[in-house]
């Protein structure tokens, strides 16, 4: 039962997946069509070759069979002729002695040759000279009126064969015979004398020879003499009874060979041969219908084989195409889900043909990569927001704000109104640019202005502990930049560099263009950074209480997230000499 259901399901799958225009239908149809055409062509070629051969070999085998019969018949007729010759050689003028000798020879011959009905010798006037022994001559017979007598008398020294007839030479004997008669003229003391020798063959040998020949189921051979009289015909009686026609005239006037004829609506193949020197013709008739019957059988078989072959091919190609297209279909189905935005498809089972395997594998890889990229993008976006938030938070560092406001209050108490005004303005500008209405990208000039505002505030707070220079070429000020990337560097330079030296600090900020890269450099003459510290500077969180807590790492990560890994911060530092921080970003127009 279970198997049934499964098979049914499978068949359903096969039929459901069969749509015109689908890979499966294309494979099925083209497969089936190609092989069908090939099979039909082979079938036709095979069939036509075979039937042509059959036709030829039918004629050929007819000829061969007839040759054998013909030989037998010739041999038989020759043996009759031998008897006639023997009579001639022994006739010796019909003296008393020679008659006796001849009678003896004939007696022996008649005894050994059962096919010889009788041997008789007449004088040229029709008088009986020698009769077969034991037979009574029929007095009613007028020999001179019989065809075998007159022909032989008119054609001396010819072998005259008479077609089958009832012989009536002897009383009480009415056998069917073929008669060989011959007129002999012998020189005799005092003149010439003529005799007629008559050898009657009882027909059985001829019939035996001819009736043994089988030409197909209904074919036959017949024999006619030179005048168109039937010597032998298996349907002789049917013909005499007027129940059947035989195309004797055509056979009679045709050369040795074969031809096709139509008789009573039937197509017949006829082969004609001469029988030795007797003047007879042997005619073989075979029915084309029988050859065609064979051909029809053959064509039926070929058609049935073809039909089954085609049916098999169609079923096979449906299955094969199903096998080929099924993995592609599953792939298609999964792709449809992906198309709808569902990337949570499970990995496809890798199976099917080699190409399909590769395709499946690639698809699986692609989906995995997309999934990976998506999670990466989500993570990056989250990180970006995180760093930005931290950068912003750094700007409103309460410590920095408190110190700055403290400075403002202190300056105010000292009546330093200019200082208050300058510092307040700088603070306002600092925050304005920090926020920048939520934009992440600002102009290089704004970024530098932000740095200048910060430096101004710090310079006032540190009572001119340091000096700074800004070098911003005008042509670079219009480019875009990620915001809040210079200020943390300056903060580091002040707290970790300049603050730690007794001399007056110096901070030089430069903006340069190196090819397609914009380079900010922040150089100080501060404390410098030790080698091992330099190594971990991007990886460890800043722990300094003065720092904003974001530091270099934040800036570096933000740049890399935003512009790519090849951008970011690099540091050159030498203890007691100073540090230069380079920030590289790509040049982008606003």
């Amino acid at each position: 039962m279970k198997k049934d259901v499964r098979l049914k399901k499978k068949l359903n799958n096969v039929s459901n997946s069969f749509r015109f225009g689908s890979i499966q239908s294309v494979i099925t149809l083209s497969f089936a069509a190609l092989i069908t055409i090939a099979m039909i062509m082979i079938g036709i070629a095979f069939f036509s070759t075979f039937s042509e051969n059959a036709k030829n070999s039918a004629t050929e085998s007819t000829t061969q069979i007839m040759n054998q019969a013909n030989l037998n018949l010739e041999f038989y007729l020759d043996s009759m002729v031998d008897i006639a010759d023997m009579i001639e050689n022994n006739i010796e003028g019909f003296t008393a002695g020679s008659t006796e000798k001849l009678a003896q020879i004939l007696n022996i011959t008649l005894e050994i040759r059962e096919d010889i009905e009788s041997i008789t010798i007449f004088s040229d006037t029709g008088a009986l000279l020698l009769a077969s022994p034991g037979y009574k001559f029929d007095a009613n017979l007028v020999a001179a009126g019989q065809a075998w007598f007159t022909y032989a008398a008119a054609n001396p020294f010819e072998y005259i064969f008479q077609p089958p007839h009832v012989q009536r030479i002897y009383e009480g004997r009415r056998p069917w015979v073929v008669t060989l008669s011959r007129g002999i003229t012998i020189e005799y003391p005092g003149g010439f004398r003529s005799y007629i020798s008559v050898v009657d063959m009882n027909f059985s040998i001829i019939e035996e020879v001819c009736s043994q020949v089988e030409l197909g189921r209904r074919g036959y051979i017949y024999i006619v003499d030179g005048e168109g009289q039937i010597i032998y015909h298996p349907q002789q009686q049917i013909i005499y009874a007027g129940l059947k026609d035989e195309n004797i005239q055509k056979a009679l006037f045709s050369e040795t060979g074969s031809y096709l004829e139509k008789l009573n609506g039937e197509s017949r193949s006829t082969v004609i041969m001469d029988v030795g020197t007797s003047g007879w013709k042997m005619v073989g008739v075979s029915y084309v219908d029988e050859i065609i019957q064979n051909r029809r059988n053959l064509s039926n078989i070929v058609i049935v084989i073809l039909l089954f072959g085609i049916a098999f091919i169609i079923v096979a190609s449906i299955f094969i195409s199903y096998k080929i297209s099924q993995p592609i279909k599953r792939l298609e189905h999964q792709m449809n889900r992906v198309e709808r935005g569902d990337f949570n498809v499970e990995n496809l089972e890798v199976k099917g043909e080699d190409e399909v395997k590769k395709l499946t594998r690639s698809f699986n890889l692609m989906i995995a990569r997309i999934r990976q990229l998506m999670t990466q993008i989500i993570a990056e976006q989250e990180a970006k927001r995180n760093y930005e938030l931290k950068a912003l938070q750094a700007q409103i560092n309460p410590h920095f704000l408190y110190n700055t406001l403290d400075s403002i209050i202190w300056m105010n108490e000292n009546k330093n109104h200019e200082g208050v005004s300058a510092m307040t303005a700088a603070l306002a500008k600092l925050f304005r640019i920090s926020l920048s209405r939520g934009k992440e990208i600002i102009s290089v000039s704004d970024e530098i202005e932000h740095a200048v505002s910060y430096l101004a505030i710090q310079k006032m707070r540190y009572k001119n502990k340091f000096e700074f220079t800004i070098d911003l070429p005008v042509e670079l000020s219009g480019y875009s930049t990620l915001k809040l990337i210079i200020q943390p560097i300056i903060e580091n330079a002040i707290y970790h560099g300049i603050n730690k030296i007794p001399d007056k600090g110096l901070i030089d900020i430069k903006v340069e263009k190196e090819g397609q890269i914009l380079v900010y450099s922040v150089a100080d003459n501060g404390y410098g950074i030790s080698g091992d510290r330099l190594e971990t500077i991007f990886t460890s969180e800043s722990t300094s209480k003065h720092s904003s807590g974001v530091g270099l790492k934040n800036v570096n990560e933000r740049i890399k997230l935003y512009y790519g890994d090849e951008y970011g911060i690099s540091i050159e530092s030498e203890a007691e000499v100073g540090t230069t921080v380079f920030i590289r970003i790509p040049i982008t127009e606003e």
């Binding site: 009686q237 009874a241 049935v304």
Partner: protein
Amino acid sequence: MKKIIKYIIIILMLAVLTSCVSSTVPGQGEDINIKVIVKKQNHEFWAVVEMGTEAAGREFGVNVDYIGPTSEEDIEGQIRMVEAAIEDKVDAIVLAAIDYERLVPAAEKAKEAGIPVVIIDSNINSDKMNGFVGTDNVEAGRVLGEAMVEAIGMNIDIVIVSFVKGASSSNKRETGVLEAVGRYPDINVLDVLYCNSEEAIAKQLTIDALNKYPDIDAFVCLNAYATVGTARGIIEMEKTSEIKIIGFDSTPEEIEYLESGSIELLVVQNPFSMGYLGVKYAIDAINGISMPKNVSTGTVVINKNNMYLPENQKLVFPFIN
């Protein structure tokens, strides 16, 4: 593994299907068997009929089985043969009925069993048969009468020697003869005798008639037994030169009398054609082709002068090896 098994099963199913259908492919035609049941075996007349059936069987490629009782009186034996043929489910039966009435049930049973039945030579009293092939006996009688007039003259006294009183064929031949001579007012039919198909009875009847009617010119004999018996009687009475015999059929004895002049002429039937056409029409019936209800095979008038003509030789001297 399961899959391989599944495919093997599918292929096997296809193979079985293919072989099933290929076995139904029409091969060589089934052999057709035709049973020929005649009145008597080992008789010159029926031997020629057999030759006709064999010739047809050979020509049309069917099997012909030729049987018959040893005696022409074995009606029961012939009925049993018909019934055996029905049981053997032969394709067709060719029947020469011994009895006009008593073969009817068996022959009709064969027809009901769907076996075509063609009657030859001697008909039965049923219109359900496929048809009849044989001598038209009325016509044969007429031919006999006309040939007699031509040979002897139209001013004669005759005696008719028929065979079985009331039998269909003898009645018909009588009718034919009487019809033919009826047109000649000077032909006198002195008597109609019945020999019951016995040569001895015919001979005795002839001798009695010769004594009773001294002016007889000719005996008209309606079958072979009547002809031979009459000829023997006349030879015995040494009246051959005065009295003519007009006979039927061509047994060797009759031929001898014809050649010696004891018999004037013979009306010869065509048993070969009966056998041949009987089988031929049986094959037609198997193939669904209907035949004429009555097919006459004709008769030929044979006398001393034309008996050796090629066209007559075959009828007069059957070709028996």
